[in-house]
């Protein structure tokens, strides 16, 4: 607005003939004129009618959409159950779930335990395998990222081993540890390792040269460089690696437990298949999904807490 008035004033000053003595300065005239225009525009604005368009809040639309999506899913499922033969419908599964979750922590011998115990023992395996992978993978990632030679050394092996299904390592695990439980943990370890090594190494290579120049001109000690520059700069990348790993680990544990047996959600799925309790398999699918979602969300929370930008 003001720029328009200003231009108008300039134009006036250029084209106007010299004002007769006694009349106000041309720019003063322009000012009065623009002031009058502002006043006129103020008057021209329509009076508020009190009518406002209704706009639903964002969160409401979002939750309506999610509920709708879930309802649609349940409808399709119910239809499949009605016409598809042996698949139990939502109502049957719901009743089974109520019974199961009423007592999730019962124990009737090694092969008959509540779903709570099964989930917990799977989580324990994931936790141990994943924790070990973090202990090995993150420092290894730092070394590979920091030293070109180590990176060149590791690259071909990582390239070959990374696409291998972790389950292919299971027999090696059984051979090495001569027991099912450590073999499953070993498979988790292997599959969690790669994303952590690779993401940490990429993070180290992405540290801006400017930050490293600061370290160089100050002659910071290696320890200070690590704690004040490398680690914080790499942390977001590292957490991405951690998040990917835990997602993969949770995928792999179900398959590994189907093969190794014992207690665990994967074993439980297989056991219920053998008992032909299909409702329980569907319950297990939902449980696995929800636990995986919670793991992911928890790590996202951690990542947000530690990201600096």
């Amino acid at each position: 607005m003001s720029s328009i008035a200003l231009r108008k004033k300039d134009a006036f000053a250029v084209v106007a003939p010299p004002p007769p003595a006694g009349s106000p300065h041309p720019s003063a005239a322009a000012l009065t004129e623009s002031a009058a225009r502002v006043a006129a525009r103020g008057k021209a604005r329509p009076a508020p009618t009190g009518y406002q368009r209704f706009q639903a809040p964002d969160w409401l639309l979002k939750s309506i959409a999610s509920v709708l999506g879930f309802a649609l899913f349940v409808c399709v499922w119910a239809a499949i159950a009605k016409f598809g033969g042996r698949i139990p419908g939502p109502v049957a599964v719901w009743h089974a779930a109520v019974t199961i979750f009423a007592d999730p922590f019962y124990q009737k011998g090694p092969n008959d335990q509540g779903i709570g115990w099964n989930v917990l023992s799977s989580l324990k395996r994931v936790g141990i395998g994943f924790g070990l992978a973090a202990l090995v993978g993150i420092p290894l990632g730092f070394l590979i990222g920091r030293f070109r030679f180590l990176s060149d050394m590791a690259a071909p092996m990582i390239a070959i081993l990374r696409p291998v299904s972790p389950l292919a390592w299971l027999p090696i695990g059984l051979l090495l540890f001569k027991a099912a439980n450590p073999a499953a943990i070993y498979a988790i370890f292997i599959c969690s390792l790669w994303p952590m090594i690779i993401n940490t190494a990429v993070g180290v290579r992405q540290v801006p040269q400017d930050y490293l120049n600061v370290a160089r001109v100050l002659n910071l000690s290696e320890w200070k460089v690590f704690t004040k520059i490398l680690f914080p700069a790499v942390l977001p990348y590292m957490l991405t690696g951690v998040r990917l790993s835990i997602g993969i680990a949770w995928l792999v544990i179900v398959a590994a437990e189907m093969l190794t047996g014992g207690v665990g959600i994967g074993f439980w799925v297989w056991d219920e298949w053998n008992n032909l309790k299909v409702e329980h398999i569907i319950i297990a699918i939902f449980t696995i999904g929800i636990v995986g979602l919670l793991l992911e969300q928890a790590l996202m929370l951690v990542a947000r807490r530690f990201s600096y930008s």
Partner: protein, 263 residues
């Protein structure tokens, strides 16, 4: 002349795929203690390379650089560097960024309270006492550059090296920071080497302006004594005939004798 910084027949070439690239050749320059010297030239003339040689981030392929009687063998905290893009660590507050440098230099000899006091006074010097606990992304570009200056000054360097310190700022902020720099340099008596491509900035701030020829194989074309009395006032100088004359000399060098075809 008492030579504090001596750049002696320095040459710098880089290995490239097409063979060696000579960036600088036969650079001779001496800077007195407490002197403010600017390096000016077209982009690609190697002025930043020369500054990096003094900073120790690069090693010359010919000749040597001596600061206070010692040959520069690498980077070190006896030289405070202000980078063009501020280079603050985004996960540390303004205080934390300066403290990192202070701790490195004085940490072994002084108490924590003393280190904190040093950090605080450096930030006060650049007028940022109120923003000490802010993160870099919460402050403006000009303020970031002030923190960069505070970080460089807080370690009490023998020499201050400024690499186009205000190049990324808007004109008004740049003017304010130039005035601040005049004041700070006046009160601390720092020896300064500054790279710039701004003619006014060079003449306003410097005791001498070193004009560099175009690369490759750039060298010093001419050195201009800026014999304007201090303290200098931006507004008063704008109409000062001596200032206008000096400014014209730099412009003449850059746009006539070293005219560069539009890239």
């Amino acid at each position: 002349m008492d030579k504090y910084l001596q750049i002696e027949t320095v040459g710098m070439s880089f290995d490239t795929k097409k063979g060696p690239f000579v960036a600088l050749t036969a650079i001779d320059l001496a800077v007195r203690k407490g002197e403010f010297v600017s390096l000016i030239g077209h982009s690609g003339c190697g002025k930043s390379t020369l500054l990096n040689l003094v900073a120790g981030l690069l090693a010359p392929t010919e000749g040597g650089v001596i600061l206070a009687g010692r040959e520069i063998a690498g980077p070190g905290p006896d030289r405070g560097v202000v980078f063009q893009n501020h280079s603050l660590l985004p996960w540390l507050t303004c205080f934390g960024n300066v403290y990192l440098a202070v701790e490195r230099v004085f940490g072994a000899a002084e108490s924590k309270a003393r280190l904190k006091a040093r950090t605080q006074s450096a930030l006060e010097l650049v007028g940022l006492a109120h923003a000490m606990d802010k993160l870099p992304q919460e402050i403006s570009g000009g303020m970031k550059q002030r923190v960069g200056i505070a970080r460089a000054l807080a370690i009490e360097p023998k020499m201050l090296l400024l690499d186009e310190p205000f190049g990324a700022l808007d004109a008004l902020t740049r003017a304010t920071l130039q005035d601040e720099l005049i004041r700070i340099v006046g009160s601390t008596g720092a020896t300064v080497l500054m790279v710039t491509h701004d003619v006014d900035e060079a003449v306003l701030l410097s005791d001498r302006v070193v004009m560099m020829t175009n690369g490759p194989a750039a060298t010093i074309g001419e050195v201009l004594e800026v014999d304007l009395p201090r303290p200098r006032e931006r507004l008063a100088l704008a109409a000062n005939s001596r200032y206008i004359h000096l400014r014209a000399r730099v412009l003449e060098f850059l746009y006539h004798r070293q005219a560069k075809r539009a890239a």
